[in-house]
C-alpha cells in the first residue's frame, strides 16, 4: 500500500496493460517466490507466534493457542515506548526533511549547470554508506561522550549542566536517527528536483510570482512526490529502529523505543508471543499512519 506512493509518478500516467501475458507472470515468478518465502511465510509464523501461550509443562517454551490477550498486555506494558517511537521518528523525519530538502534543492537545481560538482555532491551524500551504519553510530557516541570534544566545550561554556551527559538523551537518539536517515530523505527529493523543468520557474516569475511565491506554488507542489517518498523512507525504518536508541549506542533506558522492546523480548526475555504481537502492532500502526498520510496528500494529485 505504502509502496504505491513511490511508484505514483509512473503508475498514474500509464494506462494499465490490457492484455494479460503469461510471459509477464513468468517473469514475476522469482519475485513472487521470494516474497512468499521471505515475507509471507515469516509473517504468518509471526501471527501464529503472537497468539501463543506459555507451555504449562515445559517452562520457557510456548504452544499454539488463540491468546489475544497478548496484544492487550503488550499495549498496556509498552504504550510509553510506542508513543516515544512515533514521536522520535516523526521528529527525526522532520529534521531530515529540513536538512534533506535544501540539500536536494542545492544538488538538483543549483548545481545543475555543473554536472561534475553535482555528481561529486551526490557521492558525498551516499559516501557514509561505505562505512557500516553501526560504526558511524558508535563514532557519534564517541564524539558525544562525556570526555568528548562537544561535551567538553558545552560544559566549559556552562551550557551543559555538570553531570549531564549528551549520550543517552532524547537529543542524541533523535540526532542519530536524523543523521542516519538524511540520505534516504535527500535522494528522492533530489531525484524529483533534478527533473524539475526550470522554465516553469521562469514562467512563475514572468507571471508576477516572486521567488518565494514561485517556490510555494510551483517548486514545492512539483517536488511533493519526492518529499512523500523521502518521509516514508525515513519514518518507517526510523519508527522501528533499535540501534540508535539502544544503550550500546546513543540511547539509555530512558529512550527505549519499540524496536528495542521487540529486540529485548525476542533475544533477552525470550517472550516470543509478546515480541511477535509488538511487531505486528508496529506494522499495523505504520500501515495505518502511512495510508492516512498518502490519502491526505493525495497520490492522484502527484504527477
Amino acid at each position: 500500500m505504502a509502496f504505491t506512493a513511490f511508484s505514483a509518478q509512473t503508475s498514474a500516467a500509464e494506462p494499465a496493460a490490457k492484455r494479460r501475458s503469461p510471459i509477464a507472470l513468468f517473469l514475476l515468478l522469482p519475485g513472487i517466490l521470494y516474497l512468499i518465502l521471505f515475507f509471507v511465510t515469516p509473517l504468518i509464523s509471526l501471527v501464529i507466534t503472537s497468539f501463543q501461550e506459555p507451555d504449562p509443562v515445559r517452562f520457557g517454551s510456548f504452544v499454539n493457542a488463540f491468546r489475544w490477550e497478548n496484544y492487550v498486555i503488550v499495549l498496556e506494558t509498552y504504550g510509553e515506548q510506542s508513543l516515544r517511537s512515533a514521536g522520535f521518528a516523526a521528529l527525526a523525519t522532520l529534521f531530515a526533511l529540513l536538512i534533506g530538502f535544501p540539500l536536494g534543492y542545492f544538488i538538483g537545481i543549483t548545481l545543475r549547470p555543473y554536472p561534475l560538482l553535482q555528481g561529486l555532491a551526490l557521492v558525498l551524500v551516499i559516501a557514509p554508506f561505505f562505512i557500516s551504519f553501526l560504526l558511524r553510530t558508535l563514532a557519534w557516541k564517541q564524539i558525544f561522550s562525556d570526555e568528548g570534544p562537544i561535551a567538553g566545550v558545552l560544559g566549559a561554556l556552562a551550557i551543559l549542566p555538570p553531570g549531564q551527559a549528551i549520550t543517552g538523551t532524547a537529543f542524541s537518539v533523535i540526532f542519530g536517527l536524523t543523521y542516519n536517515f538524511v540520505p534516504f530523505m535527500t535522494l528522492p527529493i533530489y531525484a524529483t528536483l533534478a527533473s524539475l523543468d526550470l522554465r516553469l520557474l521562469e514562467a512563475g516569475n514572468d507571471l508576477y510570482g516572486s521567488p518565494a511565491v514561485t517556490f510555494r506554488t510551483v517548486t514545492l507542489p512539483l517536488s511533493a512526490a519526492g518529499v512523500m517518498s523521502g518521509t516514508l523512507l525515513t519514518f518507517i525504518p526510523a519508527a522501528g529502529d533499535y540501534i540508535n536508541a539502544s544503550r550500546e549506542f546513543l540511547g539509555s533506558t530512558d529512550t527505549t523505543m519499540i524496536g528495542n522492546v521487540i529486540e529485548t523480548n525476542f533475544l533477552v526475555l525470550q517472550n516470543f508471543p509478546a515480541a511477535a504481537a509488538l511487531s505486528l502492532v508496529l506494522m499495523a500502526a505504520i500501515l495505518i499512519l502511512v495510508s492516512l498520510y498518502v490519502r491526505r496528500s493525495g497520490t492522484e494529485e502527484l504527477l
Binding site: 523543468d197 516569475n205 514572468d206 508576477y208 510570482g209 510551483v218 494529485e301
Partner: protein, 406 residues
C-alpha cells in the same frame, strides 16, 4: 508602484514604449548581443526575425527580466527596469515551450498571474481569456491532457489575460498546423489591435513576421541588420543577409562602371546591370546587386535593349517546378550562375521547358544594391546548424576541404 513590489491591481491602460539602449549580452565564450539599440513604439506589433542563434530569444529574455544585460539599459514606458526582477516587470511572455504548470488545471494556469497581482475577479477573467482561444471547455483539465496546439493557446491566454503593457511572444505559433496557425495569427492581430498592447514577436518564420507585424527587424549575429515595414524590407533589402533570409533573391556581384545622379551601372561578368542610385547602398567599388525572382520575366529571344530594363542572357532552363499559381524556373547562365524566376501562370503560351534557351529581363527600378562588397554562394553567411541536412553539408564541406578537393 515601488521598485521591489509585484505590480498590483488594474491592467495596463495601453501598451508602453519599449526602449533598449546600448544592450550587450555576453555569455562565457560568446557574445549573443552586441550594442543593440531599439525602440518599439507603444501599441505596435513588432517582429524580431532571425535564424536560430542570432540573439533574438536572448533579447526577449533580457526584456522579460530572465537574463541580465552585460551593458545597457532597458526602459518600458520610459521607466528604467534594467535592475528590476522578472516578476516586477509589466511584461508577460508566451514561452516557446509553453511552460504550463503541470500540477495545475488549465483555469488555474490562466488565473495564476491575475491571482499573484491580487486581481479580484480572476476566475471570470481567466474564463474569458480561455473563450478567446476557444478552450473554455477544457478549463478543468490538466495541461498533459491537451494537444500541443491547445497547450500553446493556453500559454497565449495565460499571458494575454494579464493585459501587460508589453507582451513577448517567443515563436508562439511554432507547434500549430498551418490552418490553426493562420487562425491564431489573425486572432493575435485582433487581440493586439483591440487591446492596443505592444507586442514583441520573436520568430524565424519570415512569412509569419511579414503578415503579422507592423515593423520587422531582421537580426543576424547579435545585430539588427535592417528594420522597417515588411514591404519596405522585401522590396529594398539593404544587406545580402536580409535579401536572402527574407524571401528569395538573385544576387550578382561586380564593379561599378559608371555612377550617375539617377542610376549606377554595374558590370557583372560582361553584362551591365543598372540600379537606381536611391536603391543602392554603395555607389562605387565592388558591389552586390539583386532582384527578386518574381520581378524577372523570361523571353524566348533576346529582348530589345532599353534604358529602363536590365537584360541578362542567354541561359538555359535547368529546372521547372509547377506549383499551380506560379511556376518556378531555374535558369543557368554561363557567366552568372543559377538565377531563380517565379512566373505567374497567367498565360498558357508562356511555359518554358527544361533545356530551353531564354533571356531574362527586369525593370531597373526593381533592382536593389546591397551594402555587402561581395556575395558568395547561397546561404554561406548563415547556416542553420540545427538542421541535420545542414550539419551533413557542413561536415562534408569540412571533409572536402581537408582532402583538398573542390
Amino acid at each position: 508602484m515601488t521598485n521591489n513590489e509585484v505590480p498590483q491591481g488594474g491592467f495596463a491602460e495601453a501598451g508602453a514604449d519599449l526602449e533598449l539602449v546600448g544592450i550587450s549580452k555576453r555569455f562565457p565564450g560568446f557574445t549573443a548581443i552586441e550594442e543593440l539599440d531599439l525602440t518599439i513604439p507603444a501599441g505596435s506589433f513588432f517582429a524580431l526575425l532571425g535564424p536560430s542563434g542570432c540573439g533574438k530569444t536572448t533579447t526577449l529574455r533580457l526584456i522579460a527580466g530572465l537574463e541580465e544585460p552585460t551593458t545597457g539599459r532597458i526602459l518600458i514606458g520610459g521607466r528604467d527596469v534594467t535592475s528590476t526582477r522578472a516578476y516586477q516587470r509589466p511584461v508577460n511572455t508566451v514561452f516557446q515551450s509553453y511552460a504550463l504548470f503541470p500540477h495545475m488545471t488549465i483555469i488555474e494556469n490562466v488565473a495564476f498571474g491575475l491571482k499573484r497581482r491580487g486581481i479580484k475577479n480572476a476566475d471570470p477573467l481567466a474564463h474569458e481569456a480561455l473563450q478567446l482561444v476557444e478552450l473554455d471547455h477544457v478549463a478543468n483539465r490538466k495541461p498533459a491532457q491537451l494537444s500541443g496546439g491547445q497547450q500553446q493557446r493556453v500559454a497565449l491566454a495565460r499571458a494575454v489575460v494579464n493585459r501587460p503593457a508589453l507582451l513577448l511572444l517567443d515563436e508562439p505559433l511554432g507547434a500549430l498546423d498551418l490552418k490553426l496557425r493562420r487562425q491564431m495569427q489573425i486572432e493575435l492581430k485582433d487581440i493586439q489591435s483591440e487591446v492596443g498592447l505592444t507586442f514583441l514577436h520573436v520568430t524565424h518564420d519570415q512569412e509569419e513576421a511579414m503578415t503579422m507585424a507592423d515593423t520587422v527587424a531582421v537580426m543576424n549575429k547579435g545585430r539588427i541588420e535592417q528594420m522597417g515595414n515588411p514591404q519596405e524590407l522585401y522590396e529594398l533589402p539593404h544587406t545580402a543577409f536580409v535579401a536572402t533570409f527574407l524571401g528569395q533573391s538573385n544576387l550578382f556581384t561586380g564593379e561599378v562602371t559608371s555612377s550617375g545622379s539617377s542610376s549606377i551601372s554595374v558590370d557583372v561578368s560582361g553584362t551591365t546591370i543598372d540600379v537606381r542610385s536611391d536603391r543602392a547602398q554603395r555607389h562605387r567599388g565592388r558591389v552586390t546587386v539583386g532582384v527578386r525572382p518574381e520581378k524577372v520575366t523570361l523571353y524566348d529571344s533576346a529582348p530589345k535593349q532599353s534604358s529602363d530594363r536590365n537584360v541578362v542572357g542567354p541561359g538555359r532552363v535547368t529546372d521547372v517546378s509547377f506549383s499551380g499559381v506560379s511556376t518556378q524556373y531555374e535558369v543557368t547562365l554561363p557567366t552568372h550562375g543559377v538565377v531563380t524566376v517565379f512566373s505567374q501562370n497567367t498565360s498558357i503560351t508562356a511555359m518554358h521547358h527544361d533545356g530551353d534557351e531564354v533571356w531574362l529581363s527586369w525593370d531597373v527600378g526593381h533592382t536593389f544594391g546591397l551594402a555587402d562588397e561581395s556575395y558568395t554562394a547561397a546561404g554561406s553567411r548563415f547556416q542553420d546548424d540545427t538542421d541535420t541536412s545542414m550539419i551533413a553539408t557542413q561536415s562534408r564541406e569540412k571533409l572536402e576541404a581537408e582532402l583538398g578537393a573542390d
